[in-house]
C-alpha cells in the first residue's frame, strides 16, 4: 500500500514538474525591429488582405473597427478575436513594435504565452520587418476602444494554454515562401498571398483532431469548418474542372459571382466582402494565376481571356459576323 502511494506521489510530482518546465519554456525568439517607420497605407492594404479587419471587427453586430470580432465556434471552444485597437487598457496600445512582431509572426503574447492557432499566425511568419512596421502604423490610425473583447470560452483540456507549447512543437508549420524564378510575377505574388497573408489554407485544408493542418491535404478542401460550413478543394485540377479561369476567379474574388452565376455564401462571402474585394485587380488575378497553375503553367483555355466587348458602343451587340474597318 505504501509503495502504491509512493508511486502515485512520484507520478504526480513528475507530472507537475513537467508542466512547470513547459510553462516556463520560452517560445518567443527575440525580435528587434526597433524604430522602423511604417507606411500606414501599405499596412492598411495588408491588413485587409490578411483578414485582420474581417476577423477583429464584429461587422455583423456593427462593432467598432478592430475592437474585437465575432466569436469563432470550433470543436475546441469559442474563440473571440481580441480588441487590437491602440487603447492602453482594452486594446494593444501598451505594446511595443517588437512585441507586435512576435505576436504576429510567432504567435506569442507579450507575457510569453502562446496564442491559439485560431489566430493564423503561422501564415504571417514570413512577413518582413517592413510589413510588420506598416501594419503597426496602420493600427495606430484606428480609434482606441477601451472595452476589451470577451474572453475565449474553451473547455478542458484545451483551456490550459501551456499545452499549446506542445502543439507548437509538434504541429506548427510557419509559412516559408520562396520566389520561383521560372514563374511569372503574377504567380509569385499569388503564391505570396495564397500561402501567406491571405491564408487560404486555413480554411481550405483539413485539420487533424488537435487542429493541426494536414500537410498532405493542402488546399484539398475541408468539410468540417466551424459553423458547419464547407470549404471546397482549391487545387488547380479541381478548379479547372469546375469551370474556373483566371478571369472569372479574379471577378469572383471581387464580386462573389461564380462562373455558374451563383454568388458565394458562407464564410467565403465574408472573405470577399471584407478582404478580397478591397484588393486591386492585379492581386486578385495573381491569386487566380497561382491557384490555376497545373504542372508549372496555367492551361491555355484557363488563362486570362482578351476582352472582346467594345465597351464604348453601348447598347449594341456585335455579332460574330460583323466586320469593322
Amino acid at each position: 500500500m505504501r509503495g502504491l502511494i509512493r508511486t502515485n506521489f512520484a507520478i504526480l510530482a513528475t507530472s507537475l514538474a513537467v508542466i512547470g518546465v513547459i510553462a516556463i519554456w520560452p517560445i518567443a525568439e527575440p525580435t528587434h525591429i526597433g524604430m522602423l517607420a511604417g507606411d500606414a497605407y501599405r499596412g492598411a492594404y495588408l491588413a485587409r488582405s490578411s483578414g485582420c479587419i474581417a476577423c477583429h471587427t464584429n461587422s455583423a453586430a456593427a462593432g467598432a473597427a478592430l475592437a474585437g470580432g465575432a466569436p469563432l465556434d470550433t470543436p475546441f471552444g469559442s474563440f473571440v478575436p481580441p480588441n487590437i485597437t491602440p487603447d492602453l487598457a482594452g486594446g494593444i496600445g501598451y505594446w511595443t513594435l517588437d512585441q507586435f512582431a512576435v505576436a504576429l509572426r510567432q504567435g506569442v503574447r507579450p507575457d510569453g504565452k502562446a496564442y491559439y492557432p485560431a489566430f493564423p499566425y503561422e501564415f504571417y511568419a514570413d512577413m518582413s520587418d517592413q510589413d510588420v512596421a506598416d501594419l503597426w502604423a496602420a493600427l495606430q490610425t484606428v480609434p482606441p476602444i477601451a472595452e476589451p473583447a470577451a474572453a475565449h470560452d474553451v473547455s478542458f483540456p484545451f483551456n490550459m494554454r501551456w499545452g499549446l507549447k506542445i502543439w507548437r512543437a509538434a504541429l506548427m508549420t510557419p509559412a516559408a515562401i520562396s520566389p520561383v524564378l521560372g514563374q511569372s510575377v503574377a504567380w509569385n505574388r499569388g503564391q505570396q498571398l495564397v500561402t501567406g497573408a491571405a491564408h487560404c489554407a486555413a480554411c481550405h485544408t483539413g485539420r487533424n483532431i488537435v487542429g493541426g493542418l494536414k500537410a498532405s491535404e493542402m488546399l484539398a478542401g475541408n468539410d468540417k469548418l466551424p459553423g458547419g460550413s464547407v470549404a471546397p478543394p482549391i487545387l488547380a485540377v479541381a478548379l479547372v474542372a469546375k469551370g474556373w479561369t483566371v478571369a472569372n476567379m479574379a471577378y469572383a474574388l471581387r464580386t462573389g459571382v461564380m462562373p455558374d452565376g451563383d454568388v458565394l455564401g458562407g464564410s467565403m462571402a465574408e472573405v470577399v466582402q471584407y478582404s478580397t474585394s478591397y484588393m486591386d485587380d492585379a492581386d486578385r488575378e495573381a491569386i487566380a494565376t497561382f491557384l490555376l497553375t497545373i504542372d508549372g503553367q496555367v492551361p491555355k483555355d484557363v488563362a486570362r481571356e482578351t476582352p472582346i466587348a467594345d465597351a464604348g458602343m453601348t447598347g449594341m451587340a456585335h455579332s460574330s459576323g460583323m466586320v469593322m474597318e
Partner: protein, 218 residues
Amino acid sequence: MFKNTVLGAVVLSALGAVAAAHNGATGLVMERMMGMSAMKTLMADLAPMMQGNVPYDGIAVQEAAFALQGHAGETLTGLFPQDDIPKASYAKREIWTDWERFAALSEELRLYSEGLSIAAANGLDAPVPAPVVATNNATAMPGMDHTAMQMPAEPEGFTVSELMGITSRAAVSPGTIAGAATETRPPGVDFAAMAADDVFERISQTCASCHAQFRRGN
C-alpha cells in the same frame, strides 16, 4: 439573345426544380429554390458581359434587370414565411431572427435591379467616371516580403480609413455597398450616371451579403 436567356432560365429552373424535388424540397421551399435558380441563370448570363468577355447587349441587360427585379423585394421575402426549416432548405434561422436585415437586403436587391435597368444603356462606361479600384501594374519580380510588391497608391484606391474599416466604403464611394449591418444604401445614387457593371457589382454584393448571413454553406 434575350430569348436564349429566358429559354435557358426556364430550362435551368426546370432542372433546378427537378433537382430540388429530388432533394426533398416541396412547396414554398421548392418555389424559392426555383426563384434563386432563375436569378443564378440571369447572373451567369450577365457576368461575362460585365467583365467584357462577351459583347455587351444593353437590351438583354435591361430585360435581365427587369427579371431580377421581379424576383426581389417583397416577392422574395414573401417566399420566406416563418416556419420550421425543412432539411432540404438552405435557409438559416437567422432569416427570421434578423428579419429586418433580410428584408432590407431583399429590397436593396430590387432597387439595384431597377438601377441596372436604368444603367443598362450606359454599357460599361459611366457617363460620369466613378471611382474604381486601382490597378497595380507591378513589373518587378517579387521578393520574400510584401515590400518588394508595389501596392496601389492611396488616391487611386480606398483610403486608409476605409481599408481599416473605420469608415464604410459605401459612405464615400459608389463602387460598393451592401455589407455589414451598418452599411446602408448611399442616398441619392444616380443610376443613370453609372456604368452597368458598377451597378451589377452592387447586385452581386447584395447577394453575397445575404448569402453570407442567411444561407447555409458556401
